[in-house]
């Protein structure tokens, strides 16, 4: 039977109780249960562990925990054995009996250990792996230690302490002051100072006020918000509670992306548990504060990540943004004052309250404080989520934490800020990462996606990818965005098909200018960023497509041809089988031929060939 916690002292007693139960020296096996690891088979591994612990009768000695995302998705499924912090990677259910048996005896199994790619050195402990030890895991740190399905876990590691502090020691104004002093800026992309937003919302008049959490993480290649909601939902709830107290709100909404079912599940469960424990609902911990949170699933529209579109969607309408001069802090959801922040911003709030603004703001650069979680993906050795202090250089992120580019390929560019961001070339790799510096070079922080590209990526194709993405996602309300993106797509497609003409680059630049100045919302006004930044840093690639009708990265289908090298072809028939349109013919053990007229350039033969006999020109 769960009892409602009705006062701060009872919450403290409860926490002490939980901490006593949880002996730090007890052997524990933690399996990462984030979406990345689940996709690599973590569910089966978890079942195997539960079965095996029972079978070997060690269920008492060993605690098994399925935690949230640890961030090192590349090596999943991940297992960490505490208290020694032994790190095992790529675990398969068949490995589980051995792990359980050896762990009990205190032995380490060599073949599951992490091997550092450049030095080939084996590492035993989690903290010694370069991917982890160069990070500063302030927000993301608890993910690997708690079971997101259990509120007890969160409370035991000090959860809801910030709420205690706020309720017992601070006035709403003092909370806002603290957030302002911390220098926290919105992590969703805009970078607006959070404290100032809260203050404006507190001052606004209205019979009700709303606190909204934006979890409509639409940027392709970014998934830090999902990992927070999945792995540590209570930190977001606690942040929203503190926000509600500071602003004077009684109702909160979380708008979660439709493609994140596990995040919805964990968040809903966390809200239920918080309500059962009296941490949500009426008279929280015996104070005046009353607050409830509703979860809303998005309908699958990128534009709903924009604050006004999101609020329209919450009202059950089509998610179209509106003009910015009406501020949502005054007239937001249902025309009432609404304060919207993104998941990561909310998760930062309890940390600031616990640490104090001074300690928090000691991290970072002049204009950007604290840490930021990035999702480091694309052509990179260590794909995963990394939390780093603001001001770290791109080079450190890519080469030291990310482990460099796979396959000995050459780095070409890094794309930050999602579809509205830009591509940053090699010459700017020593750029410190913060809100302002990224903007200076024509990109932006965005929600924190970092996509690494190597020499095999065509920058014109990349620009077209983003333009096409945004064209599909443009709501169509304002003309510059709707028509501008379509025109851009047509011009870029023309260039990619080798039909570009002189003046196309200038035309793209003109069009960009108009869109930036006249679009209604940020989707349209930042949409030209990928085009402008690739023109700025990779103009030669555009020119190669236009003048020489050549795609230097050999990506653009219309500008490449596939053929079979008769000297290398062994006639194994792998390509013949793989071809979906029967463009390849040939007798077994005889060199095959590729019929160019039939070829749809899908690349299946290239992938299938083990002898590098399929050439791309």
């Amino acid at each position: 039977m769960i009892h409602r916690i009705t006062s701060i002292s009872k919450l403290r007693d409860f926490r002490r109780c939980l901490q006593k139960e949880r002996d730090g020296n007890r052997l524990s096996v933690t399996l990462c249960g984030g979406t990345g690891c689940l996709a690599s088979g973590a569910r089966e591994v978890a079942n195997a562990f539960r079965r095996e612990l029972k079978k070997q009768h060690v269920g008492r000695e060993v605690v098994f925990r399925e935690s949230g995302c640890h961030g090192f998705c590349e090596r999943g499924p991940l297992v960490v054995i505490r208290p020694e912090d032994i790190f095992y990677q790529h675990i398969h259910p068949r490995d589980v009996p051995e792990i359980v048996a050896e762990t009990i005896k205190g032995r380490i199994i060599d073949r599951f250990l992490y091997v550092d790619p450049p030095t080939k050195k084996k590492t035993i402990h989690e903290g010694e792996i370069p991917f982890y030890n160069l990070q500063k895991r302030l927000v993301f740190g608890s993910n690997g230690q708690i079971d997101p399905k259990k509120i007890d876990d969160y409370i035991a590691v000090g959860g809801y302490r910030a709420l205690e502090k706020v309720l017992s020691e601070m006035t709403p104004e003092a909370v806002i002051d603290e957030i302002k002093k911390s220098g926290l800026r919105g992590r969703g992309g805009g970078g607006f100072p959070t404290g100032a937003k809260w203050e404006a919302c507190r001052r606004a008049s209205g019979r009700e006020k709303f606190v909204i959490c934006n979890a409509d993480e639409g940027d392709p290649g970014a998934y830090m918000d999902r990992s927070l909601l999945e792995g540590n939902p209570h930190s977001v709830i606690e942040g929203m509670l503190i926000g509600a107290y500071a602003i004077g709100s009684q109702e909160g909404h979380v708008y979660v992306r439709n493609e994140y079912p596990l995040a919805v599940e964990h968040l809903t469960r966390a809200i239920d548990q918080a309500e059962e424990h009296g941490l949500l609902g009426r008279h929280i911990l015996g104070f005046e504060l009353s607050f409830t949170i509703k979860v809303n699933r998005g309908g699958g529209a990128f534009v709903c990540g924009e604050s006004t579109a999101l609020m329209a969607s919450l009202e059950g309408k089509i998610g179209e943004p509106r003009a910015k001069y009406i501020h949502t802090v005054e007239h937001g959801l249902w025309e009432l004052p609404s304060n919207l922040n993104n998941v990561e911003t909310w998760a930062n709030v309890p940390i600031i309250i616990n640490q104090g603004a001074e300690v928090y703001s000691a991290l970072g650069t002049a204009g950007s404080k604290g840490t930021k979680i990035f999702s480091l993906v694309g052509k990179i050795n260590n794909t995963g989520l990394v939390e780093v202090p603001m001001g770290i250089t791109l080079r450190q992120i890519i080469y030291e934490i990310g482990g460099g580019i796979p396959g000995g390929k050459r780095f070409k560019a890094i794309q930050t800020g999602g579809p509205s961001g830009g591509c940053i070339p090699e010459s700017l790799l020593d750029l410190p990462v913060d809100f302002d510096r990224l903007q200076e070079v024509g990109s932006m922080m965005g929600s924190g996606g970092m996509i690494v590209m190597d020499e095999d990526t065509c920058m014109v194709d990349m620009a077209r990818y983003f333009v096409r993405f945004l064209q599909g996602e443009s709501c169509g309300k304002c003309t510059p965005c709707r028509e501008g993106l379509q025109q851009m797509d047509e011009i870029l497609t023309r260039i990619c098909e080798g039909k570009g003409s002189k003046g196309d680059i200038e035309l793209l630049e003109d069009l960009s200018q108009v869109m930036m100045e006249t679009s209604l919302c940020a989707l349209g006004s930042t949409a030209p960023n990928p085009v402008l930044s690739t023109i700025r840093y990779f103009r030669d690639e555009y020119e190669a497509h236009i003048k020489d009708k050549r795609c230097p990265a050999r990506v653009c289908k219309e500008l490449i041809t596939y053929s079979v090298d008769p000297d290398k072809c062994t006639g194994c028939g792998a390509c013949l089988k793989a071809c979906p349109v029967d463009a390849i013919s040939g007798e077994r053990k005889q060199p095959h031929r590729l019929d160019e007229d039939r070829c749809v350039k899908c690349g299946a033969c290239y992938d299938a060939c083990k002898f590098e006999a399929v050439c791309v020109e």
Partner: protein
């Protein structure tokens, strides 16, 4: 060329043989509306539940929603065509999602989609005539370490290459 407007752009008449035969369980629709308290603001949630239950939004169900909530059908149609979570056509028994997030894009995702479009004879957003597969492209599933990524009925297939696809499809009837 990949179709960038998923699901909605595919209104080919031959893709809907089962539509006429389908009985719409209006009672279930009413239940869903009731669960949401007949609130107009819950329209998106109501449609999501109908879609989850019936795998698409049948015309009759939408009429029922319009009647129960007392709102014009055009508004419902607006919502149903604006958000990507909804489909007005019956979906296949199995849904194939090809991730075309940026990370999967640079790792060769478009080639996977091309291959599937050629193999299944449908564009993305479409459903095969035998209602076996619906093919969809999706803008990032957040499992970027596994790219290029293919998901069939929630089962993830990571690091996919075109020549492996046929053996995966065989498992789904």
């Amino acid at each position: 060329m990949a179709n960038i407007y998923p699901s909605k752009a595919n209104h080919t008449p031959e893709a809907t043989p089962a539509k006429k035969l389908m009985q719409v369980d209006l009672e279930a629709v009413c239940e869903i509306i009731e669960k949401h308290g007949f609130k107009e603001s819950s329209l998106i949630g109501i449609l999501q539940d109908i879609q989850a239950r019936m795998n698409f939004l049948p015309r009759k169900a939408l009429f029922q929603v319009a009647k129960s909530l007392d709102i014009p059908l055009t508004r419902i149609y607006g919502i149903a065509t604006f958000y990507k979570a909804f489909s007005l056509e019956p979906r296949g028994r199995h849904t194939i999602l090809v991730c075309l997030g940026t990370a999967c894009h640079v790792r060769g995702g478009p080639r996977i989609l091309d291959y599937l479009e050629n193999r299944l004879g449908v564009k993305s957003g479409g459903t095969t005539r035998d209602l076996r597969f619906s093919l969809e492209r999706v803008n990032c599933l957040g499992a970027c370490a596994l790219g290029p990524l293919l998901v069939v009925d929630k089962k993830y297939h990571g690091g996919i290459k075109a020549n492996k696809i046929d053996s995966i499809l065989k498992k789904y009837r």
